[in-house]
Amino acid sequence: MTATMEPTKGGFGTRMLRKEDPKLLTGENQFIDDIKAPGQLWMGMVRSTFAHATIDSIDSSAAEAMPNVHSVLTGAQLSEMGLWQAPLPCAWPVTDDMVNPPHYPVAISEAKHVGDIVAVVLCSDRYSVADAVEQVVVDYTPLPAAASLQDAVDGKAMAHSDLDTNKAFHWPLDPNPEGTAAAFADAVHTVTATFTQQRLLPMPMEPRGCLAVPSPAGGEIVFYSATQVPHILKVMIAATSGIPENKIRVIAPSVGGGFGGKLNVDADALLAVTLANHLGLPVRWTEQRSEGAGASHQGRGQIQHVEAAADADGKVTAVKVHLDADMGAYMMLITPGVPLLGSFLYTGVYDIANLSFSCDGYFTNLTPTDAYRGAGRPEASYAIERIMDMMAGKVGITPEEIRSRNYINGGEHFENFDAASTLTFDSGHYKPAHDRALEMADVAGLRTEQARRRDAGEAKQLGIGMCTYVEICGLAPSRALGGLNYGAGGWEHATVRLLPTGKVEVVSGSTPHGQGHETAWSQIIAEKMGIDPNDVEVLHSDTALSPLGLDTYGSRSLAVGGVAIAMAADKVVDKAKLIAAHQFEAAPEDIEFVDGSFSVAGSPSKSVHIQELGFAAFAAHDLPDGMEPNLQEQVNFDPPNFAFPFGTHVAVVEIDTETGGIDLIDYVGVDDCGIQVNPLIVEGQVHGGIVQGAAQALFEEAVYDADGNITNPSLMDYLVPSAMEMPNIQLDSTVTPSTTNPLGVKGVGEAGTIGSAAAVINAVCDALSPYGVTDIEMPATPQRIWNAINGGAA
């Protein structure tokens, strides 16, 4: 089942070592905190220590009297300065009547969450700014706070004092309500469950940060940001600050991970840009790790009410879902859209005829939520995969059997399947991945060992869990986004240039933060143009070099941006072929292109390599009549559909039933992301994704107290797993080409995360089934496991 693609000269399927690595392995590259500007001011934020409070007064005199302090500015002062023309943007008003109170970078009269900015301090150095922030005295009057999603749903307090509801929107997806009702009426088996998707902190290893460098005479501003979305930032900064878009240049230097956590348009960006522009001085900000939990957005934050109906054989006929989704205090860039991204996946990889979905978004007095790796899709995958295991228990069959009975097209290969959600799955072939994962994990052997331990009454019990996921990648067809009220498109831009000396420049609209775009894009050129990938340079992440783009999120870079590059490369080859034909005095249709060389069919001795034509196109001494000089082509690719990667994961846990201690002892993933450009990179993406999902299952949660204070904002308290907690991961893959794009690629950035939380929790519940446990809340900590075993609240 392993991919058997023939690698040629760095083309598709080659495990090429990454071109990015040398700079990163020697400290030569520059992250945001490595960049300095002469005369720069350090910006620090005074942040609310209350979840909800009126701001009665701010005394900044002590701070202003400190050496090295440039100024202290409150929300009221900043407002009077007129630095911005519009509130911070939400690009995804999911319904026409969505409630969206204005969200300005600095709170003026009322703080809405712990971490909300109430004043800004500017100093000449890093240490002084931390000192000065502590000297600003703010008088607050606490207000009742909606300190959890359930409190907000129950209306215990209003998150926004000027609103009489916490509900921001109601969004339904119910294509056939009669069908769902009939399926439940006819059901032999039903399952009802409620799952909590706890809040998570994205925690890329590099904290966020930015540096705005103005040019007072010219009016331009260069904005360096540790961002996933330089192009979106440029548009949004212009729209909110009123600075002309063509005076703004955004540069994302090396970015130390994102996982969604760096795709927002945050207050810090607006403050740095507008203050730098106003003062005529560079302004920088570096997030402190413990500040991040309140300064940038968090992920997940949903309560899922799920019901499923099945016939006597366990064939699932309908799924009904209601989500309550925690928006946090404000709508950030795509906050309300995140749960919608999952809505289409609640029928998973199964041929389930009916889906009824609705989502209510609620404001709370907590840090805003937004995208975190998978964004809506891990939540959906978790729900349906937990439900399938529960249904298997009801029917009295194994988890693998119920899946086999429900796969689309019986698990055999299919193309263009119309799902109940109204989306069309591009392609799938689920059974091979399923069979391979069970074989690699030796599920049969594990079950024997599990039975032996149960019979022997051993303290350490085994649990085996599986998950067969599908995800939506390649965000996104612009028309589909328009239909969902998203405020932008989903295309991607690419330019390919063959330079006079035969080297290639690729301009990429999608921007890396660890994915290896420079390597993968070079391999696309190798595949399409027969050019050594080391002759390719990829220009990206700077809006002056790459003016058009929609950046990186939603596993879209390859399936949209990579496809654009391949199409632009094809156009360069097509034009070069005309030049070759002209040189050979042959008809273009008689020219063959093999391994980078053009030759006349039938006379292979006469040939010219495409790299040799770069100079001819540049010099333009003898081009075909009417042809423009130079070999440079661009493409803006708007995909006709999403891509739907899938796979089967198996997790094996060992639980100490005396202490509740848990070890993840084995993990198998068999993933299908379509055609693979670089399997080395694919595997790395899956490894990291699996660990992030497993971490949601076992370790991670942003824990809030009853007053809305986060109790674990630092890496001391928030349990990002170390190497100790994770097992060796066994991977394999199958290859089912996508029908959405000409490369047949799907996307893999979020796959691991989408598969792993459900696999791990299914394994935990399997281990605990002799104790009558059918569900456990995430993270499944030793305490929760012990409680579940001993009959307490899980």
Binding site: T26, G27, Q685
Partner: protein, 163 residues
């Protein structure tokens, strides 16, 4: 106050605030920005350097505590390997740098300098570790991209090459 130390073989003497952390001194005083800062609780290990040959999280130490010490950062690791004859591969790097690239043990690269410095120090102390010992030995260094799988492989590979 005045502080003097050797960083990657070169002498550096600066007048600094006494409270300056070693990591800030290396980055902003000495001007070597390869050493990264990932947290504020000495949890992540991104700032790991060698002080007198031992791995140290450089945010746990004041610069003045490194008075007279010999520091090695990621920028100096290849040179050190070249000097002691252990450099390897086309790039003439330290074997751990080479192993990290060969095994795809880095993605965004932010934890990488600290991870490489911690791993080299670990192998100096335990040249033939088991997989569990490697995982335990790198417990103080967090990575969010790789799931550690390929980092463990890289350390095994570097250990094998050195053996």
């Amino acid at each position: 106050m005045q502080v003097s130390m050797t960083v990657n073989g070169a002498s550096h003497s600066h007048d600094i605030e006494p409270r300056t952390l070693l990591v800030h001194h290396i980055r902003e005083g000495v001007g070597l920005t390869g050493t990264n800062i990932g947290c504020d609780t000495s949890s992540c290990g991104a700032c790991t350097v060698h002080v007198g040959g031992q791995s140290v999280k450089s945010c746990t130490m004041l610069a003045v505590q490194a008075e007279g010490e010999a520091i090695t950062t990621i920028e100096g690791l290849a040179g050190q390997a070249q000097a002691d004859g252990s450099a390897t591969g086309d790039q003439n790097w330290h074997p751990m740098q080479e192993a990290f690239q060969q095994c795809h043990a880095l993605q965004c690269g932010y934890c990488t300098p600290g991870m490489v410095m911690a791993a080299t120090s670990f192998l100096n102390e335990n040249p033939n570790p088991t997989e569990d010992q490697i995982r335990e030995g790198l417990e103080g260094n967090l990575c969010r991209c790789t799931g550690y799988h390929n980092i463990v492989k890289a350390v095994q590979s570097a250990a094998g090459d050195a053996a």
